[in-house]
Assembly symmetry: C3
Homo-oligomer: 345 residues x 3
């Protein structure tokens, strides 16, 4: 796909400094882009590559425009403009609609004629698959699932019974939606399974990463609202609810019945305990453990960054006595106060 | 399924306050249950829904019986009684026994006539599958595996060679049992693979979550005893042994050769180092890192709950100097002692 | 396979104390090895089993040779020598070359005649599969992938389009290579997908654990160099680069664009933030969170080991006031200095 630079500028609603008749074909990084390709500058870490880029055109913000030796597209949000440009410039592979010979599809499944069901898929009873849906190879769709228009299951995705996906979702390989939640009642030391009767309900424009698992609800549904984005190896337990446009990075886990608001971000390896309420616009940095509700917007952290092993050992040893240290400090404070005649300043 | 309330009370060994001839059909939460449905009350967080419930009958403990506007079943352990009631009231889907046409089954596999092998499964040589076993779609059972009666593999489960599952196990999609352990010897900076020759041995009534992995032993077996329950995305390394009725929540990991006792619980994201011994009735809260053995029963923790990012930054900065703080405190203590004539009280 | 002990000693370049004509068949632990089997001693934890072993021969270091009641092979690196011995003594199953009937293979795929493609695999367009490659059951290989000689995909592995594997790699079940990276641009609160156009490039002799995920690059490639070893449930984000012979234990995650050097080790559940540079020979203990670059060799840690729950609660409560404690200490120090006339010693 070759696009005229002037047309690209217009489509992206960016200001062009350069030749509108230049043809742009493809994208690249500042270091690797060749003549004819578009690049972008948004992370200051890579500033050193800006002055020597061989790209045809660079998307950047107003402040950097003068530093760039080639044509520029000025944008308030260069990364966003780049995302749109790349989507325009790179063609995605076309799939032939239809059901592969090796797919095993129940007679009662309703599959739109424009949908694709690839090789070695298994589709259960009463499944409904909408227009232009792509089911990649090796997927298992259990009975009574519903998949909205234009949703894509890349490969080897499992949807357990009654899972509902909205439109334009993208589910990566190995993801499992709708497995039983971890519901156990204790009978004098032995665990008794609590039937998991709810479903997984996924809204529109949701992306779910590779090998991520989302359990079905115990009684009511586990819900991912519109625009939720989950990275790989994320664990969403039963009856969790994740609000619109919340993004959760890799290896994070949310325990049962916790409600997360809209427009939140969870850094990688974050863990949320069960039965919490997290408000809108709450942000947790990576590897944070969340054990209480955070109903109001804010930025929260809780972890111990790496340090040299010897220093860390000393610190941990001291930490074990922190309570005693605090008590001693109090006593000394009192003693000093007495010595100084009531003032400790 | 409709069950007479009197019959239900008897089967659950609960005390009924209400009309024994009421017919109960299905279950629901306190908020959502409709007339004819059974609900339960066990988590005080949801007390507010008790007084306005529309359920036909609620399972609860003696203290709450008077607060409930509808019929009640009084139980010492309402959640357990609910688990049993739900199992009685909700029918599970029936599977047709037999081997799907698209399944690829070795001639030397012995499959009970009452077992199900679903579409796109691959079953290797000398595999033995017991009565009423359900192998869902897309499973791979390598050679010499053994699966006990009534065990269910939901879908896309992998059992590597020689894996042994007891009776009444339930394995969720994407789980991998019997992959090689992470055994590496170092040869002047290069890693040399150590053959992994043990097996995975799983007892009876074990549940294993979605995308959980359990590695085969290096020489002897990795063992999960009867009644062990593993949530999703749990990692069990080679030669780990997990005792009876121990439950491990999502995203936890246990490193090689660690032995965990019976009736333990591990919160989500807990990590156990290798070669440890954990006794019976040991409980770790979520996201705890365990670096030494805990041979005796108890409740242990080790993590840093989330706080406001600015406060956390200050705390971490201070932590880096905790050893110096402790030393200074000691010096000051001595000085104060000298000033006060030997007493620092 | 039976091997003469003298031949084994020679092949392993170890010094034999014992009868060179003994025939060795198989391997076992010090406790379980029977007459005719080889064992090894390298972990002092298991010293108590050395004196009573029934093994035919034990590989160990010079210092322990005199403690062992049976024949010994003396080695500077007993674990390495054992790894080699076990590889010689244990036969691995042979696979029949060829393409299974139930595999679905594109006409344009080039598959070496000595390669195996097992049941229920799906192989896309223009895929190239080298000599003696083993593709186990249920794998999905998308278009334009390339797999080098002698590489093995055990079962149910997914290679997304354009993934490149070198020679002698071993990929365990459920691993997903080449899924989209988590690239999102924010448009006034809504996430817009950034096309992920790079590939996954894997060198030679790389091992990748069960259910591990390695995302494709955004523009350039995600790279695992020769000899990299990844355990289960590891998450490698887009554009990460891992240097030669680096080993990463289970449940670890590396965020986008971080470069890890050669000969590093990451303990289990370790997390690396994005855009960092980790030098060669850097070692992180388990559950360490890495938020800054560590360009130089060393051993680093950052976590809070488990302690009794009550003590931990007190410690966490004190930690929340650590900044105030530090400030108070400073004030008291000053006051004491004034009292002692300028000296606080």
């Amino acid at each position: 796909l070759a696009v005229r630079l002037g047309d690209l500028a217009e489509a992206l609603e960016t200001e062009l400094h350069g030749d509108p008749d230049l043809l742009i074909e493809g994208v690249g990084t500042l270091q690797s882009a060749s003549a004819g390709q578009l690049s972008f500058f948004s992370n200051p870490l890579y500033r050193r590559y800006l002055k020597t880029t061989q790209a045809a055109v660079v998307i950047l913000s107003d402040e950097e425009a003068s530093e760039c030796p080639v044509s520029v597209l000025v944008s308030d949000n260069p990364y966003l403009a780049y995302a749109r440009a790349a989507t325009m410039l790179v063609s995605s592979p076309k799939n032939d609609a239809g059901i592969a010979e090796s797919a095993v599809v129940s007679d009662s499944a309703e599959i739109d004629q424009t949908a694709t069901v690839s090789a070695c898929c298994v589709v259960g009873q009463r499944v409904r698959i909408g227009p232009r849906v792509f089911i990649g190879p090796g997927c298992v769709i259990e009975s009574d699932c519903e998949i909205g228009a234009d949703t894509q299951l890349v490969a080897r995705v499992t949807l357990c019974r009654e899972t509902r996906l909205g439109v334009r979702c993208l589910i990566h390989p190995g993801a499992v939606l709708g497995a039983d939640g971890f519901g156990l009642a204790n009978d004098q030391g032995r665990w008794v399974k609590v039937p998991q009767l709810g479903r997984v309900w996924v809204g529109d424009d949701v992306e779910i990463g590779a090998n991520t698992t989302i359990d079905r609800g115990a009684l009511e549904d586990t819900v991912l609202h519109n625009g939720v984005k989950l990275d790989n190896l994320v664990m969403i337990a039963h009856n969790v609810e994740v609000g619109e446009h919340t993004a959760i990075a890799g290896c994070s886990g949310i325990a049962g019945s916790t409600k997360v608001g809209s427009h939140c971000t969870l850094g990688g390896q974050t863990g949320l305990a069960g039965h919490l309420t997290i408000g809108d616009n709450v942000h947790f940095s990576g590897a944070t453990l969340v054990t209480r509700s955070f109903p109001h917007a804010g930025y929260f952290s809780g972890n111990l960054p790496a340090m040299e092993n010897g220093a860390w050992r000393k610190m941990v040893a001291r930490l074990r006595h922190l309570d005693e240290m605090a008590k001693e400090l109090k006593i000394i404070k009192k003693a000093v106060k007495a010595l100084t005649g009531g003032s400790d300043k």
